[in-house]
Every structure is written in structure tokens, then in C-alpha cells.
Symmetry: C2
Subunit: 494 residues, 2 copies
Amino acid sequence: MTILEIHNGVVERAFRDSALVVEGCVSLSEFNRWLDERRAVTKFSVTKTPLADLQGWHVEPETGNLVHKSGRFFRIEGVNVTTNFGPTPHWMQPIINQPEIGILGFVTKKIEGVLHFLVQAKMEPGNINTLQLSPTVQATKSNYTQVHGGNRPPYLDYFLDRSKARVLVDQLQSEQGSRFLRKRNRNMIVEIDKDERIEVLPDFIWLTLGQLFELLLTDNLVNMDSRTVLSCIRYADGVEYVCAASTAQEDFRESVYVSSTAVDTMAVNRMDNIVSWLTQMKTQYELKTTRVPLKDVDDWLFDGDRIRHKDGKFFSVVGVSVQASNREVGCWQQPLIESGKGGVLAFLCQKMNGVLHFLVQGRVEPGNFDCIEMAPTLQCTRANYDPQHPESFPPFYETVMGALPTQIRYSTFQSEEGGRFYHDVNRYMVVELDTECVLELPDNYVWMTIAQLKEFIRFNNYVNIEARGLVSCLGLKRPPTLRARHLHHSLCPT
Amino acid sequence: MTILEIHNGVVERAFRDSALVVEGCVSLSEFNRWLDERRAVTKFSVTKTPLADLQGWHVEPETGNLVHKSGRFFRIEGVNVTTNFGPTPHWMQPIINQPEIGILGFVTKKIEGVLHFLVQAKMEPGNINTLQLSPTVQATKSNYTQVHGGNRPPYLDYFLDRSKARVLVDQLQSEQGSRFLRKRNRNMIVEIDKDERIEVLPDFIWLTLGQLFELLLTDNLVNMDSRTVLSCIRYADGVEYVCAASTAQEDFRESVYVSSTAVDTMAVNRMDNIVSWLTQMKTQYELKTTRVPLKDVDDWLFDGDRIRHKDGKFFSVVGVSVQASNREVGCWQQPLIESGKGGVLAFLCQKMNGVLHFLVQGRVEPGNFDCIEMAPTLQCTRANYDPQHPESFPPFYETVMGALPTQIRYSTFQSEEGGRFYHDVNRYMVVELDTECVLELPDNYVWMTIAQLKEFIRFNNYVNIEARGLVSCLGLKRPPTLRARHLHHSLCPT
């Protein structure tokens, strides 16, 4: 890339242009036919299996930890947690320990001048619906060093070999701090030359960003790994964001989802003030998470079938047996985390100074790398709260769940990573408050614009995966002249 | 602050304006007389004392760790380090463990419209010259919760009570990763109302930023804590940086030290590419630092007098007895770290696209919070290398140390924190290469502009304290019309 291109923001404009195209080298209806076809040919079965019977996995006698015989992949261990944040000062829990940094990455390529993303229809054992759309590559280090003796994931070299593709996005991003111990993955987007021939394997398809935003309106289709990578994208200055859902609500889109990418422009809080808010939080709140043997974790028990909380709360570790046709290994068994039902991830937002602001929560979770990360306004699981005691519910629960239909700007059900979580579906919501509404904010909440959130995402370990997943659902507002733009090709070039 | 002020960048302009004023409410010669006076009245003596004789400190029998009887302040413990970075894959060493977040903060106030910093002439036991200029407040949590039974540091409430002052800077920043275990301090600048009366205690004085830059030309005067706070300041767009030293080299200043604050403008690497470089480093390099009892640390011994490496390399832990007139506690004893001599911290820089670029090193140090931080081009201690084996010297050692006088843009001796380090003086250098010179960069080096470095400083745990100390020595280029500006007051208002 030349200096001139850098100054012109060529990368950010390429992303913007792709986001404005809803019909790419395949149309959405062609995509749907392709997906139906993939679903039809994907042979796949998952059955729950007692943990004690999982082949390749065993409980370490001295620790009680659940580990793979290779010593690789991930381990279920225990942590002892003390914190002065929130109502519970001390607890113990199982946690996933997987210290390797994996790669979640899209290969992209300009087709007819528009950046297309090579998307995979991927089976994961925890998916409620077999196939979801994943990045081109979704690889743990164990994957690509072939610990499990499977095939090397296709397209991996574009991420490992810098001479083969240009890097557009490459960030370390955190995963669920309530489930993983300081887990981070490398979120990447690379671009290959428009003239490079690349074989599109049967499970893969080229889509534009605009198409991915449309597909984010469908429940449980664009997977968690895709969402986190998409959240890292920065667009050219001057774009306006729009909730994907509002394509069905034309009126709202026009009037509401307007937010410049210029940091601090029209924001009610300067970046430096938000940094200060976070500094105050990190100083005030302490988190001490210590690894302990799983057998020493109070209140949790392993009954041979699953590892569960004595009250049936929070989550369980369960086992599954998998038979699949399109994975590196055709059949295997593994543990998965099964969470309580009724998860909600929601942003409250409000127009201030003419720009939409999002209410961000500073949140301590045991597996966080640096104590606090920025979370959605509401991040909770209904099953963990006693309906008899509504006062125990988290702040803004009623505001979100009691929102009028006219306030709901986005509402879908999205799945968390099916390689680790079993049928883990959260409701993703964006709720807009009237401009007259004045909220009382607890200390750990702050208003910020989407431009500011994106700025924090760039510098890893600031914005948690739940918030990033919601941010990824915000598309770009399409100027009327561009709305109908699509490419007139029914077949992708290879 | 109103929204309008935010948009006008009022804070960044206030910093810029202060940086352009070299004569504030006191002149520099008045300052010098004041400092001489403070030196004369400060009764102060430090004598080395065997560690075994330190009152209040003892060696824990079961661990060998050196701890205070209160269990607070800091502890000297051991760490076991394994890494695939650098020539040494495994070692053990003593380290300072002080998990509290302290406050380093300047109180500022507009006097005659120009922001002045309330600077303290402060004695620290490790200082080679008794008094150095510290921030208004330099307080560990032990300090301000008064574990040692001393007086509460003056002006502390301006930092603890948000209603008393406006926060201009408030960031968590790391300290020496080779000496501290994941230590961070809160770097703050607060502004009080211009009409607020505030008592200026005898050890304190109001100085402008421009004056502080001038004083950074003097050896061992502006202390480490001041330097790290100053490095966090962001200026209004369009300013040009200048090495403080170049006030003595007018020609160079005019021609060379030009760097816009606009991120990515004319930079040879985009921010996203630098983030990617760092992501690659964090993925490639592993660091495992485990706390171990000091008595189990191989190759180090405690001989009753000091804790030292068997070959006399790296550093020792020594004891001192202190008698002082102007500290919270009049007399005490404590351990300090005494490092090998001949420390050098240097940036190589070079003009590219008309903008000065700095050669930044990605560096793994055992106490780093997140494996890698950005360090100066050269950060080393001569005493640790065998002069018989120049090939063992770090990259760019010869380029820096063999620089011609005409290439040296800045060169002073500066002290590291005298509350923890004994007579720890490093040579701080900025060396400029000819534009024709083409350097071969090892993988862990990257060119960036000062604007980009400042952007990373804002998001904590990116830029190490050695690099920040050097950045703080870069003043602003003063337009000719402003060069002589000073305020005509010989007495500060209270």
C-alpha cells in the first residue's frame, strides 16, 4: 500500500463501500438456496453423553480438572474469585482454561470493485441449528498445529503467511469473562489480490458486508466468531450507523441511527473522560481470580453426568458425542458449557446532541484480563434471578424488558460459540429511549457514541465480546441512491 | 465543561498554550533561586544499612521474602520467568510486588490565562541529589490510607474528590517491567478553578509546561513520576514537537522536529498496521511469570547486607536509613533497588515523509501486564554486557552510542524513581539518522510518529515507562512570535 492510499483511508472506504452493497456476486436469494443445500448435505448428529464416558477426556485424579489426553485443547478447571464489585464478594466456579491464542479470520477480495468476505457454513456441536456462518478460518492453535490429527483448516496460510495477503484488521480480542480464563483470540481480516485465483470450497461463499448485516436480522445465523471480527471494522469518516433490524422499520432508520465515526464529535463525554471513568473503576474495584483444582470448588459437583452448581444455577459442563461429515475430524466427543436460559444482551441508547449514544456498563468478570471490561447496558441470564425478588435484578432490567415495540430498534436471538457452548442463545436487543427520558446512572455506567466504542475496540481488552457482538449488528445507513446497488453476477469468480 | 468546549478541544489547547510559555508567574531564574533555597533548608541524610538491620522490615521465614511488618508498602519477592523472547529462555529474579494503584498527579490552575502546574521539590531516599521536581502528589495507597502513621499528603483531596477539581488526564500507566510485578500507577492532571484560593506550601511552586520542558534539559531535575505524567498530555491539533535539548541547537529545531498530532497523517505505518504488528508479537512471544518464594530464586543470594546476583550483574536490593525534615514521616528505613551502571534509554529517529518517526521496540519484560510493551529503540545497561563480546549487545547499540554530536538531538541524565531505586541514573538520548540511512529492522521494531506513540499512551499498558520518559522530553516547537512570551509577575497568586 502506498502512502497516498494510507492518507486517503482506502481500507476504511473499502469497508464502507462493501457495507452499502446488499446484493453482491450472489444475491441473497441465491445465498439462501446455497445454505439450504449445505444444510441438506451436511451429515451431522450430536448426542449428549455423560462426562464420565467421554473418550479422550478424563478427570485428573489429583485436581479433578477435566482435561484432554493430549493435554491440549482446553481444560475445565476451577477458580476462586474475590472482588469488591457487585453483590457477591466471594465465590468459586468452574472455568475454561485455554491459554492459546486462536485465529478468527475472514479472507476478503475485491469482486467488481467491492470487497467480499469468504464466509463458511460451519457446523459446531453446540449449535442449535447445525450450520451457522463463520469466518473463513476459525482455528485454535491446536487446530493448526494438528494436535487432533485432523486436516489443516483450509485458507489458513493467508493468515499465517504475511506475503500471501494484506492485513486489514488484526486485533487481540477477549472472549466471555464469565466462562473463559483470560481467553483471547486474534480477530483478523486479510485481503487477497483481486486477480488471485482462490478455490471456493463447497462450504464457502463470497458475501458483502451489506449482506452480512442483512443476515444479522435472522436468528442464529451469523455466528459469534463472525460477529466479533465484524465488530473490529472501522469505516471511512462520515458514515452513519444503522441498526440492521431497521431495514424493516424504514421510518426509524431515517430518523434515528445517525452517528459519525469522528471520535468525540458531538459526544457528551470526551474520550479522555471515558478513559478517566475506566481508570477510576479499575482503581476502585479489585478482582482476584486464582486457579484452584476443580475438586476444591465449593458449591459445584460432578455427578458423573455433568458438572453443575448445587442449586442448578449459572451453567453446567456437559458432554456431547459428535458425528459430522464436514469437519477436520469426522467424529469426536467433547465437553461443552450449557448455560441457564433467558440470556439477554441489550444496549439502551438515546439521542444526545443529535447523535445516538449507547449506555455502556463497566463490568468485572472473573476471567477478565484486566478486571473491568465494557459490557452492554444489560447482560444477564433470567434463570439466575429469583422472580420473587425483582429488586435483585440488575439495573435497567425493567427498562429493557419492558420496552415498547416502538422503542425496540433491534431484537434477534444470536448464538454463542458452538464449539464451547451448548445451545447457548441470547436475545440481542437495542432499545432507544425518548430524548426526554433522564436515566440515573450507577457509577459503573457511561454514555458513549458508536465511534468511541469502536475506538476502544481497536485497543484490545476494553470492550467485552457481548458488547462487540451487539456492535456488530449495527450496519451503515445507506444513502437512498445507493440502496438498490447490487452486482449483476450470479456466479462468483474463483 | 460545556459541549462547545469539548468540540473546541479546550483542554488540548490549554496544554499547548502552557507549553509555549517559558516564563510563567515566576521566571526560571526566580525558580532557580527558590530551588537553591529549598535545597539549603532541606535537612536530609541517607546512609546505606544492611538489609538484616532494617527496622520495620524482615525476611519472612517460610518464603525468604523481604516484607514490612505492616504487610503493606511493597514486598521483595521472587519470580520464575520463561519466555521465547530474547536470548534467555528461563531465569529467576527478585522483583518488587506492590499490587496497589498509587496516584501521581499534578494540580493545575490557570494564572493569567495560562495553565500552571503545581510542582513539588521532593526528597526521595534514592535521589543522587536530594531534591527533584515531582508532581503535586505522589502517593501510594499506603500513603493516603496512612499505614505508616504519617501525615496525609497535601493536595490529595483534589484527586480523590471529583467535585473539587476538573480531571484533565487520568490514565493507568505501567512502571518498570524488569523491576516491578505488574505495577501500575494512576497518572493524573486536575485543574482547579482559576479563582480558587489554594495555599502554596513552601516546597511547592507554579510552573508552566514550557518551563518544565526547559528544566528537562537539566540532568536529574524533573523526576520520573513527573515525566510519566507529562507524557500523557495530548496537545491541540497542528502542534509540532521539538526536543527540549534543541533550544540549545536552534538550527536543528527549525529543520527537524516537526510532527503533527493527527494520527496516521504522513505516518509510514497506519495505526491498524501497528496494532497488527503488536498482535503478531503478542501471539508469537510467550511470557510466563510465576511468583516464587525469594529463597527459591536460583543464582541470587542474600548475604545479610544485600540481595544480589551471584555474578554481581543486573541489580541488588540494598537497605537505607533516612532522616528527613520534609516528609510525612521524619525518619525511616527501607529497601531500595540498586541497578548496574551505564543505563541508556534512546530513541533513534528519522525524518520520513517530512515527519519525524521514532523507532519503537516491542519488548518482553517479566513484570509486564500483557507480555509486550513498546520500549525505546535502545534500553539497556552497559554493565550487563561483556565488552569482549560486542555481538551480545542489543540491536542499535553501536548506532546510538557511536552517534556523531550533530546527530544527537537530546542527551541528558535522568533519574528513576528515588522511592524505589538507589542512585539509578540513565542516559536519555534522541539520535536522528540521516534520511539516506536505511536500517534493517528486527521483527520486534517498528517506526511510528510521536502522534501515534501518544495515541498508544492514552490506552494503558502499551508504552513502557522508559519510552514515556523519553516522550516527555519532547517539547513543542514555539512559533517565533510566541518564543519570548512570558507573564510579568514575580509573585504567584495563592
